[in-house]
Each structure stands twice: as C-alpha cells, then as structure tokens.
Symmetry: C2
Subunit: 599 residues, 2 copies
C-alpha cells in the first residue's frame, strides 16, 4: 500500500506538506471516526460549542468586531486579546462541522465570518480592540497587545474552515492579514515579535493551505527573532515572553507555559517544512527536559501562578500547580508535531497523558464548564480568590477566556491527533473504537479503552499488504499482541485485508513515585490505571482527604461503575476509593489529592 | 518600685499612652543598651544607613522630592511609593542617632527633612510622584497610588525624629499632612482607604506624640472602613488589599502579607488606645491562626509569589516561599503590639523566631545587601528571573526597594523591642548583653545568646524590691532559674538591688517536624538550636544539597566557629553540617535547604 494521502482530503489540524521532512503524515480529519470515551466527551462539547456563541455575545467579543466593522457603536469590551476567543471558537465550529455536519453550525460560522471580514481594515489589518479602543494605533505595545496572537488564531480558524467546509471566506481574510503582516514585519522591515506566540504555527498552516512561501518565511522569522532581546523592560522578564534564549539554543522550556509550548509547536512546524534538523534537535532536547523535570504526572505544564510559568526543574507543587488547561492543549500540539517529525512513541505517550488527565480535567462532564488552573491537590479550607481559582469549581467562562474555546477546538478536532500514515502503512497512536480510513485501507477498532486494555483492530479492506503499527504505551509493561510480548514503543504487524489483531494492554493499578528531587510529593504515591491518573476525592470518603494516608503495599482492585461520574472505573486501595483525576470536581469543588502520603 | 516611665524619656517605636489599655509599657529607646550578637548586626547596619542616602540619590527618590519642591526640574522616577523609601530611611537615621549620636546623621536628617518640607503642598498634601507625574491629581487611584502609605511612613519617620532628636521639623510636616488627611477622609467625608495599610499605625503613633484625637479617630476610621467593599475591581481581588472582611470579623490573615500584618499592627494600636477588647480579641484569633497554619518555621510570612500573599492554611512551600523581608518586619511590629496589649509570652516567642530567622536572613552579614524574598530551599538549577529572585543572591537595592530601608529602621530601633516595664517591675523578652534602665532600676545582662543559653541578670540598682520577669521561650523545655525549673512563659523573680539571677536555656539541637498537613515538607525535619533555625548550605557539602538525606536519629553536635560567617555555632548531624539560616547565601547564592528529607 502507498498511503501518502488521506482519502477524504479533509485535512486536520497540523498537516505538513508533502515536501516537509516528517516521518509520519496525519490522516484526514474525516478519515477517523470514533465512538466510546472520547466521542462522549465530544458529544458534550458539541453542546458547549453551541453555547459558545452566546458566551461570546455576553462577553462582548462579537460586539467588539461589530463596532470595528462599523455595524455597531460603543467601546471595545474585555481584554486586548478578545478577538482570539472568537477565532478559537470558530475553529471549533469548523472541526465540529467535519465531525458532524449541521446547517446550524454552518450558519453560525458564516454569520460570524461575515462580521470578521467586515471588521478587517482595507490594508488587511485586523484587531477590533486596537481598532476601536486604541484609535487604530497599531503595534504600539506588541509585547502585550496580542495583535499577532489574535492574527494567529484567526488564521488557524480560517485554515480549519476551508479544510472542513471548503468555504474560503475566512481564508481570504486570513491571507490578507498574513500579507499585511509579511509586509510589515521581518528582518528587512519592522524587527519585532509579539509577546504571545501562536502566529508561528498559524502561518505555517496557512502556507500549507495557501502555498505562499512568504507566510512560511514570516513564521521562520518570528521563530528566529525570539530570544534576542527584542522584548525588554515590558514589566516582565524576557523569560516570561520566551525571549531570553533563541529557540534553537534553548535546552529547556521556561517562562509563561502556554507561550513557551505554542512557540515550540510553531518552531516544530517551521523545522518540518524547512527540513531544519538542528532546530528539530533543539526542540527534542527541550521536550525531553520538560518531560523529565517540568511535567506533572497528569501531563500538566506550568508550576507557577506567578507569570503562569514553568518553574525550576522538579519544582512541581500540587496545591499551587498552575497547569493551565491551555498549556496542556499547547503541549498536545507540540507533541503531535514532534511525533509527526520523528515517529517517536514518546510523543504519543505524552499526548495520551496530557489528553486523558491534564487536559480533560479542564472541562466538566457536562462539557460546558472549565478549569483554567488544574491543581493536583485541593485543600478543605482553600479560599477561592480570583476568577480562575479552582476553589470556585469549574466555570462557564472567564474574564480571560482563553481556555474554554481552546478546549472546544481541541475536542472537536480530536480525531486529527489519533492516527497517521507513512509510505508503508498506518500507525495508531491513541485508541478509540471506530473506523480508520487511509487510502484504500479501512480498519475497524473495537475497544473499551481507557477502561479496558483490549484493542482489537480488524482490517476491513486493504489494497495490499501493509504495515500496521500500534503504540504500546510506556506504562504498558507486559502488553501482548496476540500471544507475543509487545514491548513499549510501536509494535509493527505485517497486515492484510481480513486480519484481526488483538493488542492487550495490562490494566493493573500502578503505583507511581516521583523523582526524589520533586520535594512537593516526597513520601507520596500516585495511582494510575491504563492512561488515567487517579485521585482521592472527598465525595468518596468520610474522613478528611486532607489527612488520608495509604499503605503503598495494600492490595488494589478496580471496578467499573457505570452509574458514577458518567461511568468510570474506580480504584480501591488501602481503604481509599479513587476516581479518575479528569472527573474530579464534578460533585462540587471538594478536597482532592492525586499524590497520597504513604503510611 | 513603680516603673511607669522610662528614665530617658526617649520613646521607641510604638509607645502607648498612659491611658492605653496595655499590660506592658516599652522602655525608652535609650534605656536599653546592648552589645553582642545584635549589636554586631546593628554595627553593620550603621554603615548601610549611611550608604542608604546614596542609594536614594541613585534611585531618584530624593530627586522626586526636589522636583516636587521646585528645587529641580524633571520627571518623577520609580514606583508610585518612591517617597516611602526616603521616609523609612529617615526613620532609620533617627533610631540610629538615638543608638549612637553623630553629627553626620543629624546633618543628613536635616537636609532631607528640608527637602521634604519644601515639597509639601500649602494645604498639607504631600506625595512627590503624584505631584510631579500625575499633575497633582490626588487620590484618583487610592488602591494603587500608595498616597496614605507614603504618608504613614512619613509620619513614622517624624515621630522617630522628634523622639530621638527633639527636632520637630518633620513632625510639623507630618501633622499638617495628617490634618489634611483628617480633613479629607472619614465617615462624613470621602469614604475611602488606601490599598496598602501602614497609615493606621502611623496615625496612632502621631496621636501618641502630638495628642490630637482627630489623628486617632482617623486611624480608627481607616481600620473600621476596611473589609466593606471600598476597594473593588482594581485588578486584584479584595483579599489582596485586606478588604474582604472587616478587621474585627476576620479569623485569619489573608492576601498580601505585608499589607495584612501592617493593618493588624495598626488595628492593635487602635485597640490599645481605645480599650477596644473586641478588636483585640479578633486580632488574637488572627495571630493564633497565622502562627498555627500560615507561618514558616523561620517566622517567615507569605507563601505565594502571586500577590505576595498568605496562602491557604498549611500551604507553605519551601522553594517558592515568598516570606518577604518586610512581612517579617510587619510581623514583629504586630507581635510587639500584641505583647504590649496582653503580656502574653507567645508574642515574644514569635518576635524571637522572626527576628533571628525570617527577618535576619533578609540582610547580608555586611549589612548592605538584602533579600526581598526569603525561601527555605534553594535548588541547584534555580533560574534567577526578575529583580527580587533569590537566585541572584542578596542585592544592594531593588526596583521596588521597600525592604532595604525597612531592615535599616528595624535594626536601628531594635532596642525598642527587647524589654518592657509595668506597675510592678521589668520584663525581659529578648536576651542581649547590655544594660537596662527602668526608672531607678538598672540591670546588667551578661550572655552570649544566641550561641549560649546562660543569661545572667544583675540588679545594679533598684529603689526597692521589684518583680523581674524573664521570658522562657516555648522551645526551651528544661530551662532553669538558679536551681529551679523554669517552664516556658515568664518566670517571675522578686528582686532587689545586688541580686544576680541566672537563667539557663537548654541549647541542645532540636528536631522539628511540621504539622502533617504541611505537604511541602512531608518526610522532612528541620534542626533548631536555641532561637536559631539551621540550614544545610552547599558550601559545607561535597554532595549536592538538592539530594541530601538525614537520619533523624543520628547524633548531633554543635561547635562554635568564630572564623565562619562572622562567628556562628554550626550543627553537625548525620554527616551534614548546618549553619544558621540567617547566615545563608553569604558565600554565594548556592543550594540550601532548611527542611531536610529523612532517610
């Protein structure tokens, strides 16, 4: 089989060109159809996407664009990056439409796109808050104004829209805006970068869609220009803006976590399209250091509230974890690009950990309420201070509402992160029941993952023999394919139509201890089962969770409870009952802890 | 003996009126003369006070006042509270003059006082940054403008100046400013409070000096007006500004730590002068809760960088401790007022812990460099990010330079916090070699405290029999007076001229464990000896301090090392050598930890 293109042609998020130096190519967003666990989350999210339009009206984001378009009067409302929430939501609408076409979604999309197009200035510039509030004085405060950031999210939405609906209305806006940027910024033009990355990823994706090399060049420029002191004395240290060290010289991630991982993801896109091995190698080093020293067991990123930032190595407090939902999303985006570039299973492992834990905890089972901050320990007398404090429980929206529409677009487009193809076959990275189409090859996956470890893959059709690669997660010591041992990494099977492959991942409850330098969880263990991290929540205990202890050698058992929290497998150990971390705070923001002190 | 007044009449910081409802009265600042440990620190500080004037010139603070006075041209430099650094320094000059009179100090004081007086507006208003930078638009942003805060520090300096030198020049300025405030703010006038307390303490002290009841009334008003929603939507939650709960209803401390303890100290002053038992009782409850759940073993206050704030109960991270030097100073001020009001030894215990550890670590052995943030664990790969990051080591000054002159005034006026008198005798709260005069009673104290536990008090003169009270610290289980056991608290001795009393405090190395809810130090111990908390510092170890372990049962020994760190007693235990926490980072900002994981 030669599976070099997807069958539907509906490309998903992050689709390298055929010329890109990547090991793996994503399947089309329509080539993966899933049910089960994630489909349920997507179903809840589908409602949230529809509620989203109302939220954007209530918060004033859409009105800002109407005012900029001359269709309404008034002052701009909300933060300087208000437009970006509209764009992230619009991206969610596009992926959601690909997942489940609906006239209602199409209508929403067209109406909002019309408002955006009308708000765009004649020369392509677009940022409603700057246009309305700041008297159209552009780029006067780029470290804080988020003008490129908003542009990046607009471009991402436009790319999603054209891929999912074929509608080019927003793409036209995006191209004009990108042309305006390319005409304004660069080595020979204005030498400057935005305080908040995302434009880098966006411009590469636009290049992938509209094929204008100036857009790729501008992305390259923005990646290279950072870390050279362009941003200074703007109320935060250069570290905060990922501007202390050039990307290709950095050996770790630091500063504002979302900014750092968005930048890294964009750099990975640039490296792929330009075949820049040195840059890719630097990103590998950074990712490895992040995983080894700056990542929570939940996959959460960002240890500090102060500056929403990565901490020092091994600085991973549980009660004051920041672990912003958006950082987990950016982490998935970066890891996905690294996976495409390298084919290395560790990136798919990282995606799994982030998706099932640090990311998914960011949204309620209902799909419509969100955590901004994802702590790993919630105390009984925690004081809710400030909008984004987890002690409030999840909330429908925030003053700084970056996370909700970011969750929406991630869940709507989730199929884009599950499987790939290369010259010789198909790779399954994440497991969900459903069908996968790659060229003429069709696979059916049957599994009750993450509750059950059996993954059955049936080859329904294939033009000829091909290589089927299944990821065995690093945690799955003792996995088997049929009767053979399947060590962590990818297990490769020579497959043909009619074959049935059974991967069995061990679902025993695992005990996790942290690196001894992680002082915050000394003398504690965490329990994991499959891809899920577990947590003790007050609702399941009579004694205060603040004070629980666990015998690390106590026997464990697990039981599926269809009645509980939308159906979860609970873990029982040493007198404690634990639920998946992602499901916490759906019974009120009660005390909770992932890391449990041992007796 | 009736010792109701001091012999010199030079009152120190916080001197209740004779009509105040207090259990104890401070001795005059000139009635306590000390040598030994603290005198050495004061000697170093004496140099720092002289350097201070230069720092204030370099940083532009004095120039701001000159510009406001019309004696120079230019724009105001630095933060909105720039004037306060000048005032804190000027207060230090006053106490320093009382400690060791010097024409040089007097000259500095008079020159700077002249500039301040010239900057004052005709109606008494004074804030150079507002006058120069903001076109004299007053009180437009009181939550952030620090106008009352600066006024408070001016008043404190003026009170110190008149007490120590008899010079009323600054007091005149202070009274005019206070009159302006009293004419502007209040229940029947503008109903508003400053974002940063300190004016409350200051106004009560001014009342104590100038006897105008309007100043006491204004202090009462500012205390009572807080916590009623006056400060809202100013970029931080009301908690940050100590404005969530009325002072007399609060049961804990919360929000910005320095603001919180300054407010509490001012409230204690108000309670004392008005005999407000309910308010005093609320402050007791708050202090108890702070001590039990929100205080580091070093006496440090404030667990969070975000908002420089107290955390939730038992949230006491070591690596990200904030424990601002100014918070320890405010903690001492509050505890001192509680001690005067109640005579309860626990407040003197708290002062001891804060002074010797959390406060003293804030200044270098040289006396001229400062920590803003006092962490309890410094990692080997900690990244210095931002002006006040401890990874820089101590620094001579800061963009926000509140701590350096605050340290200066505290060390210069330290004699004011050591001993008291009441109707029946004299109370010694902190031990230092020297002489103490209270009325006709003269005591000589001989001790090598904190290195040695023997404190010998000789009654050199006394008009008649009196009660000598010596504090036995809570940590000093097994202390003796002569041959009698002396349990923690105050031991009272019927004394007369010629008596010699010997207090012996046990100086064995003690093992401290934290409350089990302090997750940050689970499985760790701290070592203490006398009033000092100890720390393992990299300079004394070949293996990484990041990774050290200690056998909690290993034998300990201690040895005085006159050559080391200005002369310290080191503690040896389980292969580790520990130095007093206050002395860390005088050999570079190397890895350090107070809490040591056990084997």
């Amino acid at each position: 089989m030669t599976a070099t293109s997807s069958s539907t042609g509906t490309r998903g998020p992050a689709a390298p060109t055929d010329g890109a130096r990547v090991a793996l190519h994503p399947l089309g967003i329509g080539d993966v159809r899933i049910g089960g666990f994630w489909a349920e989350r997507q179903g809840a999210n589908a409602s949230a996407v529809r509620v989203g339009l109302q939220r954007l009206e209530e918060a004033g984001n859409l009105q800002n664009l109407r005012i900029a378009a001359g269709r309404a009067d008034g002052e701009a409302i909300g933060p300087v990056f208000a437009d970006s929430d509209v764009y992230k939501w619009l991206e969610a609408v596009a992926w959601e439409y690909a997942r489940q076409p609906s006239d209602e979604l199409l209508e929403m999309q067209r109406e909002v796109t019309r408002i955006i197009a009308a708000a765009q200035a004649d020369d392509g510039y677009l940022n409603s808050v700057v246009q309305v509030r700041h008297g159209n004085r552009r780029y006067t405060d780029l470290p804080w104004s988020h003008e490129h950031y908003c542009a990046g999210h607009l471009i991402q939405a436009a790319v999603a829209q054209v891929r999912c609906t074929g509608d080019t209305a927003l793409l036209d806006v995006a191209v004009r805006l990108a042309d305006h940027l390319a005409g304004t910024f660069g080595e020979d033009r204005r030498h400057d970068v935005d305080g908040h990355p995302v434009i880098e990823m966006a411009l590469v994706e636009l290049y992938r869609e509209a094929a204008d090399p100036r857009h790729l060049e501008l992305a390259r420029y923005f990646v290279e220009a950072r870390g050279r002191g362009l941003i200074a004395a703007y109320g935060k240290e250069p570290t905060y803006f990922s501007d202390r060290v050039p990307v290709r010289e950095a050996t770790t991630v630091e500063g504002h976590a979302v900014r750092a991982v968005y930048l890294a993801a964009g750099a990975a896109d640039v490296a792929a399209e330009l075949g820049d091995e040195e840059l890719l190698q630097a990103l590998r080093t950074q990712f490895d250091h992040m995983t080894a020293t700056k990542t929570y067991v939940t996959g959460g990123l960002g240890a500090r509230w102060e500056g929403e930032a990565f901490g020092d190595p091994y600085e991973l407090p549980t009660d004051r974890a920041y672990a912003e939902t958006c950082a987990a999303i950016g982490g998935v985006q970066w890891a996905w690009r690294m996976l495409l570039a390298t084919g290395d299973a560790r990136y798919a492992d990282a995606i799994e950990r982030m998706l099932y834990n640090g990311f998914l905890a960011g949204v309620s089972l209902s799909g419509t309420e969100y955590f901004y901050v994802n702590l790993l320990q919630h105390r009984s007398d925690a004081h809710a201070d400030g909008n984004r404090s987890p002690a409030h429980g999840r909330r429908g929206w925030f003053d700084c509402a970056c996370c909700p529409p970011n969750v929406m677009r991630t869940l709507s487009g989730l199929e884009g992160y599950l499987a790939t193809h290369d010259g010789s076959g198909v790779q399954l990275h994440q497991y969900a029941p459903g069908t996968i189409t790659a060229g003429g090859t069709t696979l059916t996956v049957e599994t009750d993952y993450p509750w059950d470890g059996l993954v059955r893959v049936r080859v329904d059709a294939a033009p000829g023999p091909f290589r089927l690669s299944l990821r065995v997660p690093a945690w799955a010591e003792g996995a088997t394919i049929g009767t053979r041992p399947a060590p962590p990494g990818y297990v490769h099977i020579d497959a043909a139509a009619g074959d049935v492959v059974e991967l069995r991942l061990p679902m025993e409850v695992r005990t996790t201890t942290a690196h001894p330098r992680v002082d915050a969880v000394r003398g504690c263990i965490a329990l994991e089962r499959g891809p899920l991290v577990y947590a003790a929540e007050q609702a399941d205990h009579d004694t205060p969770v603040d004070d629980v202890r666990i015998d690390p050698d106590a026997p464990r058992s697990s039981e599926h409870r269809p009645d509980l929290l939308g159906g979860v497998t609970v873990v029982t150990a040493g007198g404690l009952t634990l639920v998946p971390y992602y499901a916490w705070a759906n019974r009120g923001p009660a005390p909770m802890r992932v890391w449990i002190p041992t007796t």
